[in-house]
């Protein structure tokens, strides 16, 4: 394992009355693509804000590139590129002007700045839009400019908050292709928050945050293996009765999530016929599959991730 570039220890953050992060500790290795996965309100945006020096944590420590995010915030700021979930571009300015003014904020001027801007424009395929004002660009292109802004000063760590917000699937794929390519070419460490499960699959490792707590950490594969061999989902006419029967007949523990009975079981496929035969006429649908990250999330929290999305409060 490479040396750690981000170290978080016992990090806790409280908003007025709510604990947004609860005693979280973790380390992110150099050159890693690291994800914070969780529902809105889970604490990932709070983590993003602390790592990007936008807010000061209530207690605990976070270090980026060896610098404390509170005590040495200006050192940290020099080493990170930040891409916010909400736009941070000036829509009245052109793409190039946005990059130029951002470069100046990071000490880039003159020919160095021009070259960097050209590089970024080429990489992000924005050369022919460089002189358009940002308000004329589509959402996907605007997001690319945001990323260009974050990369202009060649940060060691690129921190992105929900980078695919508002992107269609095509643009989302492009974004991830670009992030993967970028990591390969420049060795940048990418830290990303997301509530989208597919997106988390791209990460080398990820952390699942729920209600401010770290509930699981590992590679996507490892997390899925932890769930157990397979997940059997059963839709029954009377779920409560079915769960009792499962317990009595097969000694199977089950959970119920949104009216679907879930059973985590090794060799689950062999069980499907047995279950169907055991409950004649009582089962409406049954399926078996390898665990997904959604299953991982349910396994650790007992509820689905999108349940909490409707709250709309993003912290």
């Amino acid at each position: 394992m490479n040396e750690s570039i981000v170290i978080v220890s016992d990090l806790t953050h409280d908003y007025a009355e709510r604990r947004a992060l609860d005693n979280v500790s973790l380390a992110i290795a150099k050159n890693e693509i690291f994800g914070f996965l969780g529902p809105n309100g889970g604490g990932k945006t709070t983590m993003f804000k602390i790592l990007s020096t936008a807010i000061t944590p209530t207690s605990g420590r976070a270090e980026v590139c060896g610098y404390d995010v509170v005590k040495r915030s200006s050192e940290v700021r020099r080493h990170i590129g930040v891409v916010f979930q909400s736009p941070s571009l000036d829509v009245k300015l052109t793409v190039r002007e946005n990059l130029r003014f951002h470069g100046l904020l990071h000490g880039l001027h003159g020919t160095t700045a021009s070259q960097r801007i050209d590089d970024v424009l080429i990489h992000l395929k924005l050369v022919d839009r460089a002189h358009d004002t940002v308000e004329m660009l589509s959402g996907g292109l605007q997001r690319r400019v945001e990323i260009g802004k974050g990369l202009l000063h060649r940060p060691d760590v690129l921190i992105l908050d929900e980078p695919s917000t508002g992107l269609d699937p095509g643009a989302r794929r492009d974004l991830w292709d670009y992030l993967l390519q970028l990591r390969k070419e420049t060795g940048v460490t990418v830290v990303v928050t997301s509530h989208i499960l597919d997106e988390a699959e791209h990460c080398d490792r990820l952390v699942i945050l729920d209600k401010g707590k770290l509930v699981a950490i590992g590679t996507p594969d490892k997390l899925k293996r932890e769930v157990g061999g397979e997940v059997i989902s059963i839709v029954a006419k009377d779920p409560a009765e079915a769960r009792i029967l499962l317990k009595r007949k097969f000694k199977l523990a089950s959970t119920i999530v949104e009216n679907t009975i879930r059973v985590e079981k090794n060799n689950g496929h062999q069980f499907v016929p047995k279950i169907v035969e055991a409950f004649p006429g009582k089962i409406e649908a049954i399926s078996v599959g390898k665990p997904t990250l959604e299953d991982v999330f349910i396994h650790h929290t007992g509820h689905r991730m999108r349940n909490e999305e409707s709250s709309g409060v993003d912290t």
Binding site: A54, R77, F84, S88, K92, E97, F101, L105, H109
Partner: protein, 260 residues
Amino acid sequence: MNITTEIVLPTYSLWMRELIRFFRQRSRMIGVIGSPILFWFFIGSGLGSSFRMSSPKGDTSYLEYFFPGTLLLIMLFTAIFSTISIIEDRKEGFLQSVLVAPISGAGIALGKIFGGTTLAVIQAIIFLAFAPLIGFQFSVLEFLSLIVLLFVIAFGLTGLGFLIAWRMESTQGFHAIMNLFLIPLWLLSGSLFPMEGAPGWLRGIMSINPLTYSVSATRLMLYHQARIEHPGFIFSVCVILSFCAIVFIGSMLSVRKKSI
């Protein structure tokens, strides 16, 4: 601390942005300069016959008396409009990336204040084109000194706007402050009526109003009396400079206090 990267470059960046944005929105320019000119012309003409006062040039018309106050109003309006954009920058998200950049609070405050100040002075210069019409004449040197004075005054006004806008969550709140505080500050600055004729309590307020000194220094400048020997002029300039220093330091300190 690296002064170039933490103060000079960010100041230039934010200043330049302010200018580009302004010149891309022509309507803003007309709004800011148009209404004070109308005020000046209508109020000046309307009150013309009922106003009697003498000036170093002899009898003063109200158009003439009201001229320095109008200059100040133009600069006050520009300062207000350019600092109100801080609230929009915060809402639209532009500020968030500025705040996590490795720059000092002084760079952020200076860039924004210089931006507004420059725009205010440009508009004031446009209005100065009317000066010869009512008999104000100046040499090149006098004109340049007047610009310097206006720049310092505009810096104070924009700094004051910055200090208020930085704490505000909504532009409505800023409008309320503008109507209840900034406009009265201007009304009681000797722009509309001279301090000498006002009742005692009003004179008291006017004498602690920093804008009073801005108007009086400008007036002295227009009448070629802005000399080192003139105690009133020197005192006014000192008040203006102190005011600038206070609002700038206040702005600089508040920048790093409030999070995103």
